[in-house]
Amino acid sequence: MILKSKLGIGLFLISISFFGVYTLNPDGPNRILINLLTFAGIYAISAMGLNVHFGLTGLINFGHAAFMGVGAYTTILLIPHAAGREGSLNESGLPLLLAIVIGLIASALFGLIIGLPAIRLRGDYLAIVTIASSEIFRLTVRDQEEFTGGVYGVISFSDSFQNKRPKFVENLALILDVSVGQLWVAISSWVIVVLLFFILKRLQHSPWGRTLRAVREDEDAVRALGKNAVWIKLQSFMLGASIAGLSGILLAFNYGTLQVEMFVPLLTFYIWAIMILGGVGSLSGPVFGSILFWSFISETDQLASLIFENADGQQIAGVRFMLVGILIIILMVFRPSGIMGKKEELLLDVK
């Protein structure tokens, strides 16, 4: 009976996933669960941004990783950090919150810069331009070693974030026997997920959200009714980009290091997978999709070892891809609109 409602299905699937984590990891399941939830929270934020682009506005953005990267690099390079091979600590820096705000603005501006020439393009062409832009971003960051640390990345920046940690997190970490640093990232991420959910919920049914959905349905009609479709799309692009930027910043704090290889196109496709799993156009979809996705990802190590003896990294990665693929296929067959999506609003039929 509980399986009749979308929420019921979502919660059911997540319970199974968590049960799986506990049974597959008899020693220290909390540690694994918190790790899972941290990544799930961060990726859910990113998928919420992508959902603004695709779910609400119908823009096909295959360069989402770059929006995450721009936010992360801007913020991290503005706070005290050590970049590059020598890794000498750059003590001076802006306060964290200011740096985050600048990071979000930078992501939005990056969205605007890509969007200005590209957004006039039809769906599939926009996809090509965005994936190219994201690779240009990644390769530029890799080559500008002086500023970005290049392939050596950026380290020693977590203090700015961990300084803000309230006392109760430490007590909680002791009780749960998990890493206190990661617990703080997890809590921050999920607070942001909840806030973002309510902000987007308000926006979706507001007049502004209505213009976004109208553009998704028919741009010509939008123009004929006197509204500037290009500007509407650019606004959507900027909002989604800065949400992605926020998730990029959290991702950096979770790893404790910032590497350009974190923002490869694969990341973009993980976010797409999460959005599709959760249900395109649904606000809670990314949250459920993300938890489910990360449950699979974090359990593939165990599953891979059932298939291979002493599975190496490559084999685990292979099993991972296979399982995510199977998961999406199963879901598309039985619930084509994703876990939380509405059938009437199924949005995979790109014009």
């Binding site: 502004w208 209505r210 213009t211 349905e217 939008v222 123009r223 004929a224 479709a229």
Partner: protein, 256 residues
């Protein structure tokens, strides 16, 4: 009183080698129902696209209420009060019927991001006013029972009605209707024609492309006939009906 709402001067457009539109001069008076007819491929829809900015002309100028709109973007033209519909109905399928109207009715500053985010009591008041207005418009086109359905669930004819309601809620000065009766059953056709007449009585100038000649003859104050991109006749239904060039354009050769 009888000023020109639309003037076209030397408007040309070619697609490849095909001269789609070549109108040297056309002046249309306000407060009339004017029909644009002509055989398939005569350039009627292209002319609409050129006037409303959806296609850029090769040369020539279009004046709307004496404003040169030749270089304006479609949304700018629409904001001046010239609103069009489409040959293939373009409703927002996955939005409700009510939302379709609300989108059109909502003024630009109401659509702003920050306003929507802050959700002030003032905005909510505007939204409830818009709601009333939308419901009023929906009742005039008999779609009030469908207001919470997705627009994609409507029949073809109902979509036409919705499109009409969506443009009329903007209180345009000039309405360009591209085949408002295409694929609509006779009973609904009557209803749509009555609506168009009402719009006209409210002081909205109307230009429409239509293939249903009976309807055109019945409703039009003036008829403009296009053939191969050019205006070949202009006048009342009586004048047009007896025009040699019109007969030959429709039938191929002159009738003895």
């Amino acid at each position: 009183m009888l000023s020109n709402i639309l003037e076209i001067k030397n408007l040309k457009k070619t697609f490849g080698g095909l001269q789609a539109v070549n109108v040297s001069s056309l002046e249309l008076e306000s407060n009339k129902i004017i029909s644009l007819i002509g055989p398939n491929g005569a350039g009627k829809t292209t002319l609409f696209d050129l006037i409303t900015g959806f296609t850029k002309q090769d040369e020539g100028k279009v004046f709307f209420n004496n404003i040169d709109i030749s270089k304006f973007q479609p949304h700018k033209i629409s904001r001046l009060g010239m609103v069009r519909t489409f040959q293939l109905t373009k409703v927002f399928d996955r939005m409700t019927v009510l939302e379709n109207i609300l989108f059109a009715a909502s003024p630009l500053k109401n659509d702003k991001f920050l306003r929507s985010l802050l959700n002030s009591p003032k905005r909510l008041k505007i939204e409830s006013e818009l709601n009333e207005k939308a419901i009023e418009v929906l009742s005039t086109v008999n779609l009030i029972d469908m207001k919470d359905s997705f627009a994609r669930e409507l029949s073809g004819g109902q979509k036409k009605l919705l499109e009409l309601a969506r443009v009329i809620v903007q209180k345009p000065k000039l309405l360009l209707l591209d085949e408002p009766l295409a694929g609509v059953n006779p009973k609904l056709s009557e209803e749509i024609l009555k609506l168009i007449r009402n719009f006209s009585n409210e002081g909205i100038s109307i230009i429409m492309v239509e293939h249903n000649i009976n309807a055109v003859m019945q409703i039009s104050d003036e008829i403009v006939v296009l053939s191969e991109g050019s205006v070949i006749a202009k006048g009342t239904s009586e004048e047009v009906r007896n025009n040699e060039k019109v007969i030959s354009a429709y039938l191929g050769t002159s009738n003895e």
